[in-house]
Amino acid sequence: MSALFNSGIAPRQRFHRPTDDPVWLKALLVVMAFGFIAVLLLLPLLLVFREAFAGGFLALWTAITEPDSLAAVRLSLMAAAIAVPLNTVFGIAAAWSIAKFDFPGKTFLVTLIDLPFSVSPVVSGLIYVLVFGMQGWFGPQLADHNIHILFALPGIVLATMFVTFPFVARELIPLMMDQGRDEEEAAATLGASGLSTFLRVTLPNIKWGLLYGVLLCNARALGEFGAVSVVSGHIRGVTNTMPLHIELLYNNYDYVGAFAVAALLAMLGLITLALKSLLEWRYADELAAMHRH
């Protein structure tokens, strides 16, 4: 009451909001948050670069440019170069059908698209072994025709595709649902063809969300370990992707080599993170729909 009467007359009294936590509590919680993040997340990252440079820059360079490491980089890039565009096409198709049309079983389809996020990567690899392995469904027939899927590039690509196919669809479905159908319907009634409706109306609306999804899809494709590990066969210099090569080097006590390749992947992760933050910050409004769901 006294604060009310004195306002304007007495020296300004500091009004204490009930939702304002005391300074000591704020400090404690902020320190807790920073401490937890520093120990749990930042120390491992720091260690990767520290170990990679432990033998000097020359040792790092030698480890990365060694033929088997280069083969691993090449294989990872190739798998991503096939899996990411295919998953992008799938993501756009899935989002278009789900956001712009109504059909029975839609909710189930959306749930199914989320499945790889909650399935163990090892199970994701296992299912392809059971289809294409020698004891699997099509294994013997494929072997008769000398077609190699497991322990070769196709198997690695399939496992990568399975693990990463939700990324683009996940970003686009809520975004396109939020944008509704009005603009496309207007374009269609004005006589635009399907393709030009998509290219001139839909694509400009979803481009940042699409880029965001492709970015995450690509990062996961290059970094996938569990699923690819099951189907690759671990042939050094032939079917070892970058993460698998890290495992091999680490288990052979070649720590400089392992952390050199790890640093390469960590750099990629950091770049992804930076681009992701940039997209979230620059295009917050366009992307907002995705985070509301």
């Binding site: 491992p44 790889p116 370990f225």
Partner: protein, 281 residues
């Protein structure tokens, strides 16, 4: 005019927009080939052993121990991530402090860092001669190559899920409700425990379930730090790999089916949580 209008033939398709068949066709083809057929292969496989055989394959002490470890440690990790996720989300939404942007960006590190990289880093960090491990070994605490290593890796991998689910809900919550609670005479602690936490419950549980699901299935970041001692620190996904290497496809598939079943249950639980949250809004 109306006569002309009547002459216009009804559109063949119920849809105004084009591309329904094409886009749904691509989607269904992709989902069938990539997901449904392989999943069917997994679900059918263990029953080549018969129901008894399936039961025998998953009820061996080693398999049960691995399942208990994977599920138990994932549960603990989800609980730890929920507590710290709440603190971090609270701090990020409510307070202003230097380094906030950095803290916010760093949360997603476990998403961005490939699991194998995280795995060897955590393993080296917590090994008896590592930066953290050497400090702990002085107090006779071992983390790497014990079940606690599994917990560390799962906590690492699950943190972004809890923070990122809580953050938007907390910022939407607004201060008004807490102010009402305060004017009605609630203490700050009562406001948090009786008003804020119940309002956040769907988001808390969603984040925890996502962290749990990720932890149960996690492979890459765990296997390096776990030490993989059978029946002690061997996680279920690793046992699948081991069985595959021994050409025990049915045994591997049996564990796979159990894990897939758990994923499905979690997915349904998450959907339920989502509609619960939507209803309360």
């Amino acid at each position: 005019m109306s006569a002309i209008g009547l002459k216009i033939p009804l559109p063949r398709s119920r849809h105004v927009l084009p591309g329904f068949r094409l886009s749904l066709g691509i989607t269904l083809f992709y989902m069938t080939g990539l997901v449904l057929i392989p999943l069917l292969a997994l679900v059918i496989r263990p029953f080549s052993l018969g129901l008894d055989g399936f039961w025998n394959a998953i009820s061996t002490p080693r398999v049960l121990a691995s399942l208990r470890l994977s599920f138990g440690m994932a549960f603990l990790a989800a609980a730890i991530d929920s507590v710290f996720g709440f603190v971090i989300a609270w701090v990020l939404v409510r307070y202003r402090f230097p380094g906030k942007g950095l803290l916010d960006a760093v949360i997603d590190l476990p998403f961005a860092l490939p699991t194998a990289v995280a795995g060897i880093a955590l393993s080296t960090l917590y090994a008896p001669n590592g930066w953290i491990g050497s400090l702990l070994i002085a107090h006779d605490i071992r983390i790497a190559y014990t079940p606690w290593g599994v917990l560390v890796a799962m906590t690492f991998i699950g943190l972004p899920f809890t923070v990122r689910t809580l953050q938007p809900v907390l910022s939407e919550l607004g201060l008004e409700i807490e102010e009402v609670a305060a004017t009605l005479g609630a203490t700050r602690l009562q406001t948090i425990s009786r008003v804020v936490v119940p309002m956040l419950m769907p988001a808390l549980l969603t984040g925890a379930a996502m962290a749990f699901a990720r932890g149960v299935g996690e492979y890459g970041s765990v296997i390096f730090i776990a030490g993989n001692i059978p029946a002690v620190s061997e996680i279920a996904p690793l046992l699948i790999v081991t069985k595959l290497e021994q050409y025990d496809y049915a045994g591997a598939a049996a564990i796979g089916v159990v894990m897939l079943g758990a994923s499905f249950v979690l997915l349904l639980a998450l959907n339920g949580l989502q509609s619960w949250a939507a209803k309360r809004r």
